[in-house]
Amino acid sequence: MLLEEKTSQEQAFEPLIVAFCCNWCSYAGADLAGTSRLQYPANVKIIKVPCSCRVNPNFVLRAFQKGADGVVIAGCHPGDCHYSTGNYFTRRRFTLLMNMLDFIGIEKERFTVDWISAAEGSKFAAVMNGVLEKVHKLGPNRKMRDKRWKR
């Protein structure tokens, strides 16, 4: 009985999305989405960082290793960075990383960077819903997964 339950659970693909949100814009945008009661799936789990430029590519790969089906980095719109220039570096860094992931065969759709301001609660929800939709289409990520890590 228990076993059956487990297999049916596995069949229903519940993607895990790890979202890194900058404190000043996107995390606040996510707060606004909450305050506005905008729905997006519970699969999205947010990690607060001071700025999108704090996100190390290590973290992104680590998330994929540990079972994330999609990773999102959200920061202030370029030009609006609380720290003036942080997201310009984010933009360069992850433009390259995205292409690299693609180059080694991780689908581009699994990795999203977007600019979401503190006022864009609806955009936050829309972006997360969009990511979920794309990842759902791709199915579970098995690439780069650390098989020892039991989710």
């Binding site: 540990k66 020892r148 890590w149 039991k150 989710r151």
Partner: protein, 343 residues
């Protein structure tokens, strides 16, 4: 002596694989290494040396051997690792075969390494003689016969058309029995051809640039060797990578690491390299602080410490480190420099 047409090698491997795993040299992604033979794989007997030595079958680069988890106050422990079933290790060269004997001395003396022991016990080693030794080979310096591998259960010679099959041990006998349908008895002509082939191989060995190399145990006092000025000179070009250790059939240091699986812990061991800055790192730091000390450790171990313990040099002259070292610093240069030995 038995033999089989070389083009029937896949059948032979297939037959072996029916009874258990077969490790054979297979080219994958451009490099030949020992891996579990799958139907369709072409065993590569042309490439002289596998990139990673055959020791990786007996002593895998990494091996999980313990799983434990805590549930409340209960601790569950499960031992995994090692080999459970009989298997065949096919296509080992004389140097690698000799390395097993050297590893045995370390792993099979008390306390016995049970994972190594299980693999050693359950494995049947089929060695193959070297048709074309290369410039970096110097096995002869250690009295290893590339033309007649020792220490294996079965010896195989590649004549070009046929594979000669000569049983060496009882284990080899059992394997041969299993392959009865495929192996045929060699004829008298074959029996005559073998020594000729071996002689031809030996002639090639004579021609090698390092043919004259003499590997003798260092007789100087340990302290004197340890303080030899040449260590600095030799190690100055060393980059501190672990290539030489990882391609070495006799290097056997390992590190133990725990991995948090989220629900428990997996303990594994993996090859370690004395060339690495974090080798034998302890709470107080690293006992060998500079590359000179780490470099010295490796070669003192091979040329002095190991011989002091087991009366043999821990090198089989396979030449892998000569080929693989990014800057061509290697054991031959060290042997010639250290202890004032003349060239």
């Amino acid at each position: 002596m038995k033999k089989i047409a070389k083009d029937r090698l896949p059948e032979l491997l297939q037959k072996m694989a029916e009874a258990g795993k077969v490790y054979a040299p297979v080219n994958k992604g451009g490099k030949t290494n020992f891996s579990v033979w799958q139907p369709g794989d072409a065993a590569d007997l042309t490439t002289l040396r596998s990139a990673v030595p055959a020791k990786s079958v007996l002593f895998p680069q990494s091996e999980t051997y313990l799983r434990f988890a805590q549930q409340g106050k209960k601790l569950s422990i499960e031992t995994v690792g090692g080999e459970a079933d009989e298997y065949v290790l096919f296509g080992v060269r004389a140097c690698d075969a000799k390395s097993f004997a050297l590893l045995d001395k370390v792993f099979l003396s008390e306390p016995v390494d049970q994972f190594y022991a299980s693999r050693r016990e359950l494995g049947t080693v089929v060695a193959v003689a070297c048709r074309e030794p290369e410039d970096a080979c110097f096995c002869r310096a250690f009295d290893i016969a590339a033309d007649a591998p020792a220490g294996a259960d079965v010896c195989v010679w590649d004549t070009g058309d046929d594979l000669f099959w000569l049983v060496q041990t009882e284990k080899g006998e059992r394997l041969t029995a299993r392959l009865a349908g495929l192996l045929e008895d060699a004829g008298a002509a074959d029996d005559a051809a073998l020594p000729a082939l071996q002689a031809q191989i030996r002639a090639q060995l004579d021609e090698l640039p390092l043919a004259a190399l003499v590997a003798e145990k260092k007789h100087q006092a340990l302290k004197q060797l340890f303080d030899d000025e040449q260590w600095l000179a030799c190690s100055e070009s060393c980059l501190g990578c672990g290539t030489c250790t990882y391609v070495c059939p006799t290097c056997h240091c390992y590190d133990i690491q725990d991995y948090d699986t989220g629900t428990g812990t997996e303990r594994s061991r993996c090859w370690d390299s004395c060339m690495f800055s974090d080798f034998t790192q302890m709470a107080h730091g690293n006992p060998r602080k500079t590359q000179k000390e780490r470099f010295r450790q490796r070669f003192m171990h091979k040329l002095v410490y190991y011989p002091n313990n087991y009366n043999e040099i821990a090198c089989v002259g396979c030449g892998r480190c000569l080929e693989a070292c990014p800057v061509n610093m290697n054991i031959v240069k060290v042997m010639k420099k250290i202890g004032g030995e003349a060239r």
